[in-house]
Amino acid sequence: MTTLQAALSGALVGGMFAVMAAGLSLTWGMLRVINLAHFGLILVGAYLTFELATSWGIDPILTIVLTVPLMFLVGAGLQWAFDRLGVEEFASLLVSFGLLIIVMQTVSNVWSADFQRMPGDVNPYATQSVSLGRFVFPAPTLIAFVFAVVIVVTADQVLRRTFAGRALRAFAEDRAVASAFGIDHRRLGMVLAGLSAASAAVAGMLFALGNAVTPSTPFEWIGVVFAVVILGGIGQVGGVLLAGVLVGTLSAVVSATWSPALSPLVLFSAIILALLFRPYGLLTVRGAR
């Protein structure tokens, strides 16, 4: 019973990992930019939600009305710079590592290194919970899961059905040919990176809703979120949700049955195994060449 409850809660928490991982996976798969700074953007998103809710009294969920456009601009600008300077793949991993460190230290200088949590009067969601039958779920994780489903399904449909989505997939497949067919990869790339950053703003809000943040929180995300990206298959949004749910469930079940401290140990061991045996994603069948 408790294990089942833990598994279900974990699955919901996995939704938040999926939101964090979606943008990362897309920019990696489509633009070949491995953007560690994405975690910096999530962190800033979380702090902005905290700040806007605490100082201005805005409803925490509604803060994304402000943070999403702002982050979109940041993400698009960053991609513009990456594209201009030819930063890709390995170089992007290093450059964005540098950027992540800069963001974390700046956040620490602005908001101090202490834990920050939205007080109960501005964040009514933190204490609420929803009971479904015998199971009880905290509101923040349910909200996170709903957002995850909406974001992933939308992104998946956009990539499948719209012209821009097809153009992006064509571009990821073969850049030279896609460009020859008149695909403006610069603009598309900036839009995609912008949307990815916007999803980071949402992820930050979702995290702040149920947790306290410190400037070093991204270190807790990196491992799990990259695992979700790789397990889901790089560049495949649909896989991200599945992998997120899997990782969240595993982590929660280990915490519940053994000890919370063991959860990262089991989780990362599982991730390493997955990396070794399914390096192209759980769902990916390596096609014929």
Binding site: G98, L99, T106, L265, L275
Partner: protein, 646 residues
């Protein structure tokens, strides 16, 4: 020789730097400088440790903290909880850390298709696992942290800080000397070839897995020993102090700044970064320390990914002048700061000069081609070019001899696609076999199977009587198979000569570097590339790159040479020149399989033609018979071509 002389130099440097601590008071050196130097030495050791794996072989690791952590915890737990003598814990720490490194490497390097990015992310996860393990396990940490007792040390060393300095110095000098030695031996060449083109290196006979494991073990050994000193230095080891991302950040920034392909790069980078960090902290900008580091990393990767060392070696004097000038002027004016501030300003000025745009790598000058190196008249004559012959093996030259390559019912499927389907084939010594077939008929797959790049789904294969199924490509290279790649993949960081010398050093009859370089010239002459021996691969054209592929392939002293579309994309004159080269290689006694689309070339060269179609063997025989076979014509020209043609 270079290595031996260099190691003597390191002994001298060690003595000189050790003297600073022993006679510190007599020299009037403030303790503060010694502590700073101690910190710099610690980072020199760490950055060097990281660089042996990640710089030399190109496998970037974010897991340096894991090695430091294992070293630190070994010393802390053994010394602090079990009373083991500190001096004993250092080697134990190094060994534990090396074992961890070997486990990580053993997992990560197993897969041939393991890409660098995935390795980087894997190493990112390792410290997290260890941190969780240490937190849970109360025998190790249990979330409490561990106090490290101060060991006893000889009186002549002076205070604790002097002692620590000497220890750091010892580990740093050993680390740098090891990196120096590695760079100047086969080990270093193997790692460089892995960095440039791992598959090619493996195919030329480099045991890439073994060298990567060795590299990661060295990284672990040094990282663990230095981590052990780190425990002593901080006095109280916590999970956060070792398993975070600060240590990887530091070593990556230092190595990228200094330069990753040379032993001196990390040394330079570590010293500069430690100086900058110290001055920032001293000026009350602690909060800016990491911001500056992050910015340095981001900017450097874009502006100067090759780092300081290479640029400094090329033009040292402007930098030295800047250092002396700025430090000197500040010292004379004496209006601001301490001597250390002046010196650091000088260093920063020198770094700026070195990194200044326009100071970018100048390409080595391309030597003009030797006159008449392409003589169109020589086509058809296979021998008699002035002394540019491989030692001839006349016994098997000419008529076919023993069976050299034997494929039996070999199949290879990709998912549902049958790239090769039950192909049986024998190649005899001395043959020059043309392997032809339409696109997608399985030619390259067959080459990949014989060279070991792929494993067959079923069937057996033997080379010179030895079963090669499941052998690593470098083993197969040592059995006597060598290949070229359709798209040439030279080792970009090496000269044309060293590209070939690499193949000789690791080939079937390995030679030391100097002998290999001499022999390389001969191989280059055979393919008419002698005049470009000193050039970099980036400076030569496609034709020359393809000839380089051939030179490298014959340098391994193969019995069988697989030429995979070695003439693709060449113009007619270049094709004729390449055909002459192939003849010459064949005449030296090497059995050749040439994959080629140009039937004119195949007709001209081959003693036998093998036709594949849709993964099956369609025809096999002498060129004239095969080329007039109706099935072959149909496969090439379509279903009705034969009927219409006749």
């Amino acid at each position: 020789m270079i290595a031996a002389r260099g190691l003597g130099g390191f002994a001298v440097v060690f003595m000189a730097l050790a003297a600073l601590a022993v006679w510190r008071e007599d020299l009037g050196l403030p303790m503060f400088y010694l502590v700073l130097a101690s910190t710099a030495l610690f980072w020199v050791a760490q950055a060097t440790s990281w660089n042996v794996l990640s710089g030399y072989s190109g496998y970037f690791s974010f897991g340096q903290g894991a090695f430091v952590g294992v070293g630190a915890y070994t010393t802390a737990v053994l010394g602090g909880r079990h009373g083991v003598d500190f001096y004993l814990t250092v080697p134990v720490a190094a060994v534990f850390s090396a074992v961890l490194a070997l486990i990580v490497g053993g997992l990560a390097f197993r897969l041939r298709s393991f890409r660098g990015e995935i390795f980087a992310l894997l190493t990112l996860a390792v410290p997290f696992i260890l941190a969780a393990f240490a937190r849970v396990n109360s025998e190790i940490d249990g979330g409490q942290g561990v106090v490290v007792p101060v060991p006893e040390f000889p009186e002549w060393m002076g205070q604790f800080q002097d002692f620590l300095y000497l220890l750091n110095l010892l580990v740093a000098v050993v680390a740098v000397a090891a990196a120096f030695a590695i760079q100047h031996t086969r080990f270093g060449w193997a790692l460089a070839s892995i960095r440039d083109a791992e598959d090619v290196a493996e195919g030329l006979g480099v045991a890439t897995f073994r060298y990567k494991m060795l590299a990661i073990a060295v990284t672990g050994l040094i990282g663990g020993a230095a981590g052990s000193l780190f425990a002593l230095q901080i006095g109280f080891v916590t999970v956060e102090s070792v398993f975070g991302l600060t240590i990887p950040l530091f070593v990556i920034v230092m190595s990228v700044l200094g330069g990753r392909t040379h032993w001196f790069g990390p040394v330079l980078g570590a010293v500069v970064i430690v100086l900058i960090q110290d001055r920032l902290s001293a000026s009350g900008f602690e909060g800016w320390n990491l911001i500056v580091l992050g910015a340095i990393l981001a900017v450097l990767v874009v502006v100067a990914p090759d780092g300081l060392q290479a640029r400094l070696w090329r033009r040292p004097w402007p930098a030295v002048a800047a250092l002396v000038l700025v430090t000197g002027v500040l010292a004379v004016v004496d209006a601001w700061g301490t001597p250390l501030d002046w010196f650091v300003s000088g260093v920063l000025a020198a770094v700026a000069v070195v990194l200044w745009p326009g100071h970018a790598p100048a390409s080595a000058e391309r030597r003009p081609p030797a006159p008449d190196h392409v003589d169109l008249g020589e086509i058809g004559e296979s021998t008699g070019h002035s002394g540019q012959q491989l030692p001839e093996n006349s016994k098997i030259n000419g008529e076919p001899g023993e069976v050299l390559v034997e494929c039996r019912e070999v199949s290879r499927y990709f998912g549902g696609v049958r790239a090769l389907d039950g192909v049986s084939l024998q190649l005899r010594a001395g043959e020059l076999v043309g392997l032809v077939g339409p696109n997608g008929s399985g030619k390259t797959t067959l080459v990949n199977l014989v060279s070991g790049a792929l494993r067959p789904t079923s069937g057996t294969m033997a080379v010179a009587g030895r079963d090669i199924v499941g052998l690593a490509p470098h083993r197969i290279a040592h059995v006597g198979v060598s290949r070229t790649h359709q798209i040439p993949k030279p080792f970009e960081s090496m000269t044309v000569r060293d590209n070939v010398a690499m193949a000789i050093m690791f080939g079937r009859q390995p030679r030391p570097l100097t002998a290999a370089r001499e022999e390389a010239e001969q191989c280059l002459d055979i393919v008419h590339l002698g005049h470009l021996a000193g050039a970099r691969p980036a400076e030569i054209n496609l034709h020359e790159r393809q000839l380089l592929e051939m030179a490298r392939a014959i340098a391994t002293k193969p019995k069988v040479l697989l030429l995979d579309e070695a003439l693709a994309g060449l113009n007619p004159a270049e094709i004729d020149a390449a055909v002459a080269v192939v003849r010459r290689i064949h005449a030296s006694g090497i059995t050749i399989v040439i994959v080629e689309h140009l039937l004119r070339v195949v007709n001209q060269l081959a003693t036998r033609v093998v036709v594949l179609n849709r993964g099956r063997l369609l025809a096999d025989g002498d060129p004239r018979t095969v080329m007039s076979d109706p099935d072959v014509i149909r496969a090439y020209l379509g279903r009705h071509a034969h009927a219409r043609g006749s």
